[in-house]
Subunit: 430 residues, 2 copies
């Protein structure tokens, strides 16, 4: 354990606890605006640091990573606009979720509260730092950030500016902490006494490593194996458009599809046009035998149904029924986002209730599974766990709750035995 | 892995999935009533089986366990009444929690859904089986039950009757499964592909064993180290009543207090009367030096602040301030339930916001932390984890949610680039 990481965690935790004690919607929004202004005013400095990062990595990392590393004026502007969007959203903390009189003078409230201290490990993607920090602050959580090392110059200047902005507010700058070395990740994962939630983003193997190496609850997903099922009652043109979008609009997105399931009754007429459309986008097709009798494709093996390609590759399989599609999805899917194309309401209903995933979609692209598109302002990640928070996690997923019970000397002994008082359990206005 | 456990899990999972697909508030309530009637009609048979269990265990297990094992006419009646209470509660499944237009014709809903398949491992306490099964059914979850072996005759007859009752309904009897041997627990914990949530109840060491030996999410708590803090502005008589109730009303309850913190300004006047009242209930006191200068008590060691006695023992410590009390609680507490006695609203507010626990109470006993007393109908357990479900877990804690998105051919490509359509993000009525 690196001492420095423990110290950092203690500072952030203390600041978070301080923030939890304030009724502070205005203080938090004021701080968000200050941060946005500071970043705006220092745009040149930020972009210069990013230019340095890019110079050091150019040619050394894959193009897709390099594109993420590059901040640029537009991405920075968008990230700053995202902060203002968060200012507009309601405070997720302090919401009364339940208000009940248990008996005269004994009143129960369930109130949303911050999670506490978040540990967020993310890719070399500078605007993610801005987004995550703003979400953490708006939800009154402390945050320890660790970004991919390629972005270290950019991230250091960003955190410096954020802390400078907080200096001018009532929020302790220690709320936001940055780790700079890979070794510190191990120390962070060991801090289960102080860190309340770890949010890892990045490669599947990295997320799995985190899940297996910490006792801290982990929010996120290792795999994004999403399916599109084209039902016999599908509108074929919509099906093709959606398939192309879900596969090619951003193939490395976790909400892109990996496998297409086609009902046998529609396969003959649909597949040739579909293969054409996907071919125009350079998608490599891998398919089962029945598909390959209709269109040209490489043979798919069992391995393919398990694979997140994150690339312009699509596995295709013919199914005999909606139930077979659902069973395939529940077997091979990663509970992320699953879609059906159908004009049949009953088929959609069955798909929605039987498919076990954070998102079930009908007649639209899986690529909509995203905190911004859902209207959450932004997201820290997408959770594929069964228990909440599930799906894209924005502000609402970064709070938990507490039960507050206020009495006037009430004791349980009075509610037991022969003379037991009874509870009123009366709902009170929220 | 015992094959039989896998088979049992597959059957229960299939039934749960079937139930997830039905709009079934009435079907579920009908089944609950059928179960209640079947148990009522077979009361003699149940009590005879329990008599057998008790005969076999008499003198072989501690009195407290034996008392829990004994069902008796009253406990059975109460458990059956509990089923009718659940019938009255709203269906926790299918609730629309968010309803939003993302764009014209593209509508997002967040809907509460069952968790899926629960594995509940509990003590030799027959009425718990009835309560847990009824909660699982009402929340549309499948359930695999494993009760303490001392109750095996009673549990077998109970499950037989419950399945008989379900035969007369549209709900597959396979939804409810009973494991009978201890070895099966290991197999159950390995079924992370099928079981969605494990709820262990019992000794701290057992719960910790479960937490460390499964990849399935675990809901519950190992320790119940609860504190009562008596503030300088406390009403002393109320403080004494609450302390006695919180310690002695049911000392083996997880919501009983283990440590009492007393503000120094009130210690001199409060402690003698408090010691008297606790002494009358045979409570053994262990205290720090400052307390022992005022009243008679054994010396407390650091170990005591960490200990859940589950017995008539209470540790007492004098603190110099509210903040010291909060820090002690956040250090040694198990995030279960923490209480303050004070007439000072500011002190209560600070305690409520700064103490990190599922329940924060003012001027009432910690013993109120209970699903039934909170008006949840019943509870499967109390969760001390930070993320939801937290605190007493009733119906609301046994559901999760799913995002449903319905479009009309919508693709993400239309919302990017120069001609990008914008999202409307319009809230729709629920």
């Amino acid at each position: 354990m690196l001492d420095s990481v423990l110290e950092i965690a203690l500072k952030a935790k203390k600041s978070a606890l301080y923030l939890a004690g304030e009724s502070n919607q205005q203080i938090k929004n004021f701080a968000l605006v200050k941060i946005a202004q500071e970043l705006q005013n220092s745009a040149e400095e930020i972009l210069a640091a990013n230019f340095l990062d890019c110079q050091e990595s150019e040619g050394k990392i894959p193009n897709s990573l390099f594109a993420r590393l590059q901040l640029g004026e537009n991405k920075l502007k968008e990230a700053i606009r995202g902060i203002y969007d968060l200012v507009e959203l309601a405070d997720p903390v302090g919401r009364i979720e339940l208000h009940r009189e248990l008996d005269e003078g004994l009143v129960l409230k369930r109130i949303s509260t911050p999670v506490g201290l978040l540990g967020v490990i993310f890719e070399a993607r500078p605007e993610a730092l801005i987004q995550i920090t703003a979400l953490a602050l708006k939800s009154s959580n402390g945050v320890i950030l660790k970004a991919g090392k390629e972005a270290s110059n950019t991230c250091q200047i960003l955190v410096k500016l954020i802390k400078q902005a907080l200096e001018e507010t009532e929020i302790p700058p220690d709320l936001v902490q940055l780790l700079t070395t890979r070794e510190e990740i191990t120390s962070l994962l060991a801090l289960d006494e102080y860190v309340d939630l770890i949010i890892p983003r990045g490669s599947n193997s990295f997320v799995r490593y985190v899940q297996e190496n910490t006792r801290i609850p982990v929010l996120g997903h290792a795999d994004g194996i999403c399916h599109l099922y084209i039902d016999k009652d599908a509108d074929q043109q919509k099906a093709i458009n959606i398939a192309v979008d879900a596969k090619t609009q951003y193939p490395s997105g976790c909400n892109a599809i990996e496998t297409l399931l086609v009902h046998q009754a529609i396969a003959q007429s649909l597949l040739p046009a579909l293969a054409d459309a996907l071919g125009q986008k350079q998608v490599e097709l891998r398919a089962d035998e029945r598909v390959r009798q209709i269109i040209k494709a490489l043979p798919a093996t069992n391995e393919d149904w398990h694979t997140e390609y994150s690339d312009l590759i699509l596995a295709i399989k013919i199914v005999d029924s909606l139930s077979e599609a659902i069973e395939h999805i529940n077997t091979y899917g990663s509970r992320h986002t699953e879609a059906i194309v159908s004009q049949n309401q009953e088929a959609i209903s069955l798909f929605f209730s039987q498919v076990d995933a954070a998102g079930v979609f009908a007649n639209c692209s899986t690529r909509f599974a995203d905190g911004f598109r859902y209207g959450f302002g932004a997201e820290v990640g997408i959770s594929t766990q069964k228990m909440p928070p599930r799906g894209p996690v924005g502000l609402d997923g970064l709070v938990t709750y507490k039960y507050q019970l206020v009495g006037n000397g009430h004791i349980v002994a009075d509610y037991t035995g022969k003379q037991a008082k009874t509870f009123t359990h009366k709902t009170l206005p929220i």
